[in-house]
């Protein structure tokens, strides 16, 4: 498997990885995929004054998935909550040079982001920060 230098960069120093500390605004959470499927991603978003003021992610997955989380988090910070739902992760294929065979994996990022939006829409403010087993 070959990885682009952009993937390599994100993998070595992922941006906004981890969890968000407690703070002002609303913290929502969404996940996509599963260990059994080979990739599991969790996004957290802090929404304040109609903006996603902070975004963090955790991922179990291949380098493409990890780089995609890193790049998506970077791109989406500052967006509106609605944009979490309309974000098209396939747009990351180009910058990251994700091979066609793997592009399906990016869709789990969409799932996680949409679940963040749904949580926001539901007024769900309990953010389960604890990791899963």
């Amino acid at each position: 498997m070959d990885y682009s230098s952009e993937v390599a960069r994100h993998f070595a120093a992922p941006r906004q990885a981890g969890t968000l500390p407690p703070g002002p605004g609303t913290l929502v959470r969404g996940e996509g995929g599963s260990v059994e499927q080979g990739a599991l991603v969790v996004f957290q978003a802090r929404i304040d004054a109609g903006r996603v003021v902070a975004l963090a992610w955790q991922a179990y997955g291949c380098p493409h998935v990890i780089a995609a989380c890193s790049l998506a988090a970077e791109k989406l910070t500052g967006c509106t909550p609605a944009e979490l739902g309309t974000f098209e992760p396939l747009c990351l294929r180009g910058p990251l040079e994700v091979p066609a065979l793997k592009s399906g994996r990016l869709l789990i990022i969409q799932d996680a982001l949409r679940k963040c939006l749904a949580a926001w829409d539901n007024g769900d403010q309990r953010s389960p920060l604890n990791k899963r087993n």
Partner: protein, 391 residues
């Protein structure tokens, strides 16, 4: 230390300098260039003499007679000839074979091919530590079983099967036993006579010989013949046609001669490195040893690491030449079927690393590997959503 560090001796070994010297000599000397089947002239007979000397060296390592050794293009072909060749030759006696889920693909795919041709295959499942109980072999035998094919040392986990006990059962039931010894020849002692083995596959490149040459031992008394899979000029007693590659078999002979000499020292060397590696890596929370803790050959250590994904794990280990259970790094597209057969879930099978050691491996390389793996796993876990107790 040269990076990447080579820890993939179970996949292939560098050719021993003495073997390279002999092979280069053999390739360079025009008087050895003849076809070893050209017995009509002096040049052909000189080539033939080299081939026969090599046959004796290969036979010696396993306590066989030279005329019980058939040279092939590798252990894959030897496995095919043993399994398919025996099945065809003995089809009148029965069409049932016993093998295991953790054999090398050369045996598994040969059996699957036979299954498409009307043979019945019993696939033994190892226990969680990778071992096949001899009693399970006995229970699998049927009145029309013609062959049991089980490997000596598993190429992924390094576990050593109790071939002696299995052989005794096969003899008692008058069923032939084929043993794939590609990983064990030159690393574990093998005596086909004392061990009551009927057919045994060998590869040169696993033990510092050249790639592209192997051999099948065929017990003259018990087996005598198998059906050839390839047809041609009658070389290798009609069982394996094609011009015999003098330099290749000479290289294999020399590698086997050296292996016989060096076996005890080498086994000590790799076992020490493996133990050093394991005692370093086992600090890591969530690391699992794959395969039995004691019944294992010294040159392989296989571990699974929970909470990190296989492909990323493997990608993080770019400075180590190791084998992984991760699908995308091998020709086949599945997570290690061997670890799956041991009951490991797909994710753990994918997050496995096989380290294998050899003559050139050093303690410094192992120290480096320990630190390097610990660091990589720490990085991956730093952004993993999966909680590993103790991590």
């Amino acid at each position: 230390m040269q990076l990447p560090v080579y820890f993939d001796y179970a996949a292939s070994t560098p050719v021993d300098p003495e073997v390279v010297g002999l092979m280069a000599d053999c390739l360079r000397r025009p008087e050895l260039a003849a076809n070893p089947a050209a017995l009509g002239h002096a040049a052909g007979r000189a080539a033939q003499a080299l081939v026969e000397a090599a046959r004796a060296q290969v036979a010696a390592l396993i306590n066989a007679q030279p005329d019980e050794i058939i040279f092939t293009s590798g252990a894959t072909e030897a496995d095919n000839l043993a399994v398919i060749g025996t099945a065809w030759f003995r089809q009148a006696r029965g069409r049932h074979l016993v093998t295991s889920l953790t054999e090398h693909k050369a045996v598994i795919e040969s059996c699957r091919h036979l299954a498409t041709q009307g043979w019945r295959i019993t696939w033994l499942r190892p226990d969680a530590e990778g071992l096949i109980a001899p009693a399970a072999v006995e229970a699998a035998l049927e009145p029309d079983t013609v062959l049991v094919s089980l490997m000596h040392v598993n190429n992924e986990t390094g576990v050593v099967h109790d071939i002696a006990a299995i052989a005794a059962i096969c003899r008692r039931h008058d069923v032939l036993l084929h043993v794939d010894a590609a990983q064990s020849a030159g690393r574990e002692r093998i005596d086909v006579r004392a061990g009551q083995i009927d057919l045994l596959s060998l590869s040169a490149h696993k033990i510092y010989g050249p790639k592209g040459v192997g051999a099948l031992f065929i017990d003259q008394e018990r087996v005598r013949r198998v059906s050839p899979l390839l047809f041609g000029g009658g070389q290798e007693r009609g069982l394996r046609p094609g011009t015999v590659a003098t330099h290749q078999v000479a290289g294999m002979g020399e590698a086997f001669r050296l292996a016989a000499q060096r076996l005890p020292d080498e086994a000590r060397h790799v076992t020490a490195l493996r133990d050093q590696l394991w005692s370093g890596l086992r600090q890591l929370p969530g690391i699992l040893l794959n395969g039995h803790a004691e019944r294992r050959s010294g040159h392989i250590l296989n571990v699974s690491i929970t909470g990190v994904e296989g492909e990323s794990l493997f990608y993080s280990l770019a400075d180590l030449c190791v084998a992984s259970g991760s699908a995308c790094t091998s020709l086949s597209n599945e997570a290690s079927y061997v670890l799956r057969a041991l009951g490991r879930p797909a994710a753990l099978a994918q997050s496995s690393i096989r380290f294998s050691f050899g003559r050139q491996s050093t303690a410094a390389e192992v120290d480096f590997a320990v630190e390097y793996v610990l660091r990589a796993v720490q990085h991956l876990r730093s952004f993993s959503p999966i909680d590993v107790p103790g991590a």
